[in-house]
């Protein structure tokens, strides 16, 4: 399977061709964390993480809640 390159929070990253959002989140150690994910400017609901496949050139934002005023 041809590798793909995606951008995660602004950093380029190589992944195997058939990586799901869930697999990526797992690899990032965020599987059981409260996160939200945006793909190319659109929210990907958590319920679709397992089925959504990443594509070459995807721009992902993965966010968490932090302290703020």
């Amino acid at each position: 399977m041809k590798a793909i390159t995606v951008s995660i929070n602004g950093a380029a990253r190589q992944l195997p061709g058939s990586t799901s959002v869930a697999a990526l989140i797992g690899e990032m150690g965020l599987a059981d964390k409260r996160i939200a994910l945006e793909r190319n400017g659109e929210i990907v609901p958590r319920s679709l993480f397992a089925t959504e496949q990443l594509a070459d050139g995807d721009r992902l934002e993965v966010v968490v809640a932090v302290g703020g005023g």
Binding site: R34, V64, G67, G69
Partner: protein
């Protein structure tokens, strides 16, 4: 006393809202939030730190959404688009939670609100079903426009974010309160307990602060002071202060029955 703050149809006993930034660690954050008695607490939405220790606790484990009304903010956003994207992510992050704090800033030096971008973002967010508490300038015309758009609370600054300068223009806050039906919450600029009390005495519905507590020498003690100040200020407002009488003293003790050799 049955004096509840109502925001978007939900009752809150506390009129103090606090931010969760700038504390030295989560233990201090938690202790200060608890001492403040706040039910609504703000959080920021940020990129997850890749490579972060996955065993580290997260803020939402310390301050769970089951216990507090979390108010995700758009701090650091300078355009309506970024603010809207941030709050869409926040809604997903918080399982569909729609109460949010919108702030769109003008420049990084003053952190003054960009009201043009704020109005644009508010329109989009209200149309998408968000309940928008909006940080804005103390301009009464903009405040009214934001209410007309459908914002559920208007949150004018008292002075610049993080400045601790206190309430610089009480007259503008009054003008806003005269025009706006939804809650008016002073957001930004409070420095110490008397500032919070003054905001409440003016008739504001609540106060939101972060640095005034987190930046105190003893944040947990200051959180407790702010809780008392907001309660005292609110009570004083409800009680109705005595009129000011310029150049006219009035004794508090009876004038009759004074022992004095000069009277009978």
């Amino acid at each position: 006393m049955n004096d509840k703050l109502v925001i978007a149809g939900k009752n809150y006993a506390s009129r103090l809202m606090v931010g969760t930034g700038k504390y030295k660690d989560f233990a201090e954050t938690k202790a200060a939030v608890e001492a403040s008695g706040s039910e609504i607490i703000t959080v920021a939405i940020r990129r997850s730190n890749i490579g972060q220790n996955p065993d580290e606790p997260s803020l939402l484990e310390i301050l769970p959404p089951s216990k507090y009304t979390l108010l995700p903010n758009t701090a650091g956003c300078y355009t309506a688009d970024d603010a809207v994207r941030t709050l869409r992510l926040a809604r997903e992050l918080l399982d569909g939670h729609s109460l949010v704090k919108l702030e769109v800033l003008g420049d990084p030096q003053s952190l003054y609100p960009n009201v043009i971008e704020t109005v644009a973002a508010a329109k989009t967010l209200v149309a998408e079903g968000f309940q928008v508490m909006v940080y804005t300038s103390d301009d009464p015309i903009i405040a009214k426009q934001l209410e007309d758009i459908g914002c559920v609370a208007i949150m004018p600054l008292a002075s610049l974010i993080g400045s601790g300068m206190g309430i610089l223009n009480p007259w503008n806050l009054q003008l806003i309160m005269e025009r706006v039906q939804v809650p008016v919450i002073v957001d930004a600029g409070v420095g110490t307990a008397s500032d919070a009390a003054i905001a409440m005495e003016l008739g504001c519905d609540g106060v939101l602060m972060n640095t005034a507590i987190a930046g105190a020498q003893q944040p947990v003690l200051m959180a407790s002071a702010m809780k008392q100040a907001v309660e005292a200020g609110r009570s004083a407002f409800l009680a109705g202060r005595m009129p000011k009488k310029l150049y006219s003293a009035s004794p508090s003790s009876p004038m009759a029955g004074i022992i004095a050799s000069t009277r009978n």
